[in-house]
């Protein structure tokens, strides 16, 4: 009996962790097509508290599993809020993980975490040490002081940090008291009095000051253009086209794969048709860049891509499921030796895809199986309605009768978190479901899929997480060494989530 109970305990632990990691890949607490934002955040908060309370070590290690930024930030905050673990080894590992994860976050997200420390009234010794180390490790603190002024001030005052040089007076006494020798701080001061100095500031800082000076929007956008970062350029496409005619030129070669896919989907059909080769090359390049970072060679791969109406996402995540599907299409086509894609609605060219119609996944799935793929990847939100539950039934019978030896691998990649099920919605037990936020995660989650399927044991999952922790800490140590040599261009480091 005792042994049986132990097996069950282990099984429960594994299922809990798989569910949690899966949720951390896809959920961002934002509104989805079928679910509202409130339900999403309640659901994910509950999961975090539950895993933190029961499996603290593994909870910390999830930071290294390649989960999305939203959940990384949540884990860091929750760990800092709940004191440090008793055992010295755990304590050291957790501390290193928090520091590494915080450094790897995009700057605005990391500073947001520090600011949340104040809002959540977390002020233990460890939290102060984490904030101090992060701020001291910044390459260009003057830049941060200008761009993230309120957040940095919150972190500094809340953690009683000592800052060298002019940054502290700048943060706490403001620009009216004195002039600065630090060029950027001095520019910021002058920009309050002279329009000309505006254009040497980062775009987000200058934007508000331009309104104060009454600079016309079109003049401002034209002159600030050289200062725009790649992410800001992508973001400004639509609004600047509305306001002055020509959007800032985008270097398509620099944008990340999923962002690029979302950018393409936001373009009107005629534009997409006219710039077809250019867009296609950019997407292919972005896909190769992702694969260079996480190399994975695949054999004969079939993709079932959902472009039904529900893939249009929500107001907060506009067209994201469709964007992930499109990006995955390019990623798999360059990772596989042989590749074919089936969309649920007919598409003449993947670039011209749009979200329309019902979800019939069963028919393309049958076609893909008939084609004889080694690996079938389904990218979908998990709702199939033509007919309902067809995929679950189809895969169940297929596994039971036609492919008991599992020659064909089936994976369901889901970009949408279902708040009621605490996990991305699945197509039944015959297909493992893994959550993603970006298509860039697909190589990672393909590795994770065997845990989602339930075949691997808890020990294997722990080993997997431990190996990812080692890799992450090694990467972080390497990055810090490189940073000591030359200072990074702070403006470039500022990419992150749009």
């Amino acid at each position: 009996m005792a042994a049986l109970a132990e097996v069950r305990v282990e099984q429960v632990a594994r299922e809990d962790l798989v569910m949690f990691v899966n949720a951390c890949f896809s959920c961002t607490g934002q509104r989805e097509f079928y679910g509202d934002a409130r339900g999403q955040s309640v659901s994910i908060e509950f999961l975090h508290q539950y895993i933190l309370g029961n499996y603290r070590r593994l909870y910390a290690r999830t930071l290294a599993a390649g989960i999305n930024h939203f959940n990384q930030a949540q884990i860091i905050l929750n760990l800092l809020a709940s004191g440090s673990p008793v055992e010295a080894r755990d304590k050291a590992e957790e501390g290193a993980l928090i520091a590494a994860a915080l450094r790897a976050l995009p700057s605005q997200r990391a500073f947001r975490v520090l600011e949340s420390l104040r809002n959540r009234r977390i002020n233990n010794r460890r939290a102060r040490a984490v904030a101090r180390d992060y701020v001291n490790g910044r390459a260009n603190l003057a830049f941060d002081a200008v761009k993230y002024r309120a957040k940095l001030r919150a972190a500094v005052s809340h953690g009683h940090l000592k800052l060298e040089g002019e940054v502290a007076p700048f943060l706490f006494h403001g620009w009216k008291k004195r002039s600065f020798t630090q060029p950027l701080l001095e520019t910021f001061r002058r920009a309050h009095y002279a329009q000309e100095a505006l254009y040497e500031l980062p775009y987000t800082v200058a934007e508000g000051l331009a309104v104060k000076h009454g600079v016309p929007r079109d003049v401002f956008l034209r002159r600030i253009e050289p200062r725009l970062t790649a992410a800001e350029r992508l973001r400004l496409q639509e609004s600047s086209a509305r306001e002055r005619g020509t959007p800032p030129p985008v270097e398509l070669g620099r944008a990340s794969l999923t962002k690029l896919a979302l950018y393409v989907l936001a373009l009107p059909h005629e534009v997409r048709r006219a710039r077809q080769t250019e867009l296609q090359t950019a997407l292919e390049h972005a896909a190769t860049r992702v694969l260079r970072r996480a190399p994975s060679r695949l054999g004969r791969v079939a993709a079932i891509l959902d472009n039904s109406y529900s893939s249009s996402g929500s107001l907060e995540k506009r067209r994201r499921p469709l964007g992930v599907a499109l990006a995955t299409h390019y990623l798999l086509s360059s990772a596989a030796q042989e590749y074919r894609a089936w969309w649920t609605g007919p598409v003449e060219d993947a670039l011209l895809v749009s979200a329309r119609g019902q979800t019939d996944i069963a028919t393309p799935l049958l076609d893909a199986l008939a084609w004889g793929a080694d690996l079938v990847v389904i990218v979908s939100d998990g709702y199939d309605n033509d007919p309902p539950k067809a995929v679950a039934e189809l895969t169940r019978v297929f596994r039971a009768k036609l492919d008991p030896e599992r020659r064909t691998a089936l994976v369901h990649v889901n970009p949408v978190f279902d708040s009621e099920g605490y996990a991305p919605r699945s197509f039944g037990t015959a297909v493992p479901t893994v959550g993603v936020r970006d298509a860039e995660d697909v190589p990672t989650v393909l590795g994770f899929a065997r845990f989602a399927e339930g075949a691997a044991s808890l020990g294997e999952l722990e080993a997997y997480l431990a190996s990812r922790v080692e890799a992450m800490l090694a990467r972080d140590a390497q990055g810090r060494q490189g940073e000591d040599g030359g200072s990074r261009d702070a403006a470039q480091a500022d990419g992150g989530e749009a």
Partner: protein
């Protein structure tokens, strides 16, 4: 003169049902059309007025029979090639009727339920057309001055007759269901179920028109069943594949098609109270080869009853359909009136037909809201008898 195109029985020929999509107690069943003729198009015309007064008889501002209701939108149908407005949607709309200001409110005066606007263009008020037909059933009241009827009943008949219904937006779930519904590419219509009771059917001729009109379903009105209390969600039906009949991928495909067919059969069965039952139709308007008509089912209180309007093409295909499910109280009222009319409004004869006494019939009439037809003395006598 009877027209062959008047519907005797609703048959969904040329139409196909697809598997339903379920959202919180609402079941939406897509209706697909495989061959689209494209010579009858519908487009939306919105009215943003608080109420509309439709002159059914007589001129716009003259005394006559009026129909008063909240009318959020009308449908403009064009046929036989005159399709510009239907296809592109946005066009300067011709002024429709007249607007009156009544304090902070605006009221629209509309001429007729179905109004010819151009050689091949007709404006109609969907559902209101059918509802007006339903209300005008036995409108005139008794034709022979039997002693039991009140003076008011004899001189004015059932005027004014009113029915209440529930607007779609009264149920937030319906909005959610329509928002998350995924429209099929060949879809021309929708059957709307709540707790597996058919509330309404809406079918047009062209898939693009349906796509444009889909969201108007939330502005339409429905029977009281829409608000009837229910627990939880619609049960998901467990249609499964039979593993023992599968030995190849082709078998699997066959089984999948069977599953799809099962869904269609199931929905066809669920909609059996509307499709395949006998209906009584009256002609409303002849537009080219198309015949606009309104109909009602048997009005038997023991069955589910629908009223609606339909357009049938020259070859007898159903090109347009919109129905409203009567609540049981509405059915009872209609049933009583039709029974009275068939016995020339004679209370004793009607009571015999219904196998009851005339006193009980009087009480039933009062309960149904027609007490004003009868003399007070008759009613009081009946109630005294009833109480005993």
């Amino acid at each position: 003169m009877t027209d062959a195109r008047l519907i005797q029985r609703l048959e969904p020929t040329g139409l196909r049902l697809a598997p339903s999509q379920v959202w919180g107690g609402m079941r939406l069943v897509p209706v697909l059309r495989d061959t689209v003729r494209g010579d009858l198009r519908m487009t939306l015309r919105t009215y943003d007025d608080e109420a509309a007064v439709v002159s059914v008889k007589g001129g716009l501002k003259e005394p006559g029979l009026k129909y008063v209701s909240y009318v959020p939108h009308g449908l403009v149908m064009t046929w036989a090639g005159r399709q510009s407005e239907a296809v592109y949607g946005a066009q300067l709309q011709p002024s429709d009727g007249k607007r009156l200001k009544a304090g902070p409110f605006s009221i629209r005066l509309l001429h007729r339920m179905a109004h010819r606007e151009d050689r091949r263009q007709l404006r109609m008020l969907p559902l209101h057309l059918a509802m007006e037909g339903f209300l005008s059933l036995q409108f005139g009241g008794p034709e022979i001055a039997w002693a039991e009827y009140s003076r008011e009943g004899l001189s004015r008949g059932l005027d004014p007759r009113s029915e209440s219904s529930v607007p779609g937006w009264a149920l937030p779930m319906l909005d959610g269901a329509l928002r998350t519904f995924e429209i099929h590419s060949q879809q021309v219509g929708l059957l709307l179920f709540k707790d597996d009771a058919l509330l309404s059917a809406f079918i047009v001729a062209h898939p693009e028109d349906y796509r444009a009109l889909h969201r108007t379903l939330v502005e339409d009105f429905y029977g009281e069943l829409l608000l009837q209390y229910s627990f939880g969600d619609e049960p998901e039906l467990g249609l499964t594949l039979d593993a023992s009949r599968v030995s190849s991928l082709e078998d699997l495909r066959g089984e999948l098609n069977r599953m799809r067919q099962d869904w269609a059969d199931f929905h066809g069965f669920m909609a059996g109270g509307l499709f395949g039952v006998d209906v009584t139709s009256t002609r409303v308007y002849k537009a080219g080869g198309f015949l606009l008509q309104r109909f009602h089912t048997s009005l038997d209180p023991d069955e589910e009853n629908h009223i609606g309007e339909a357009i049938v093409g020259t070859d007898g295909t159903l090109e347009y359909l919109k129905t409203y499910r009567l609540s049981s109280a509405q059915t009872r009222r209609a049933y009583l009136l039709s029974q009275l009319a068939e016995s020339d409004w004679h209370l004793e004869t009607t009571a015999e037909r219904l196998r009851t006494t005339s006193q009980d019939l009087a009480v039933r009439l009062r309960n149904a809201g027609f007490g004003y037809l009868l003399k007070d003395s008759v009613l009081e006598a009946a109630q005294r008898k009833h109480r005993r």
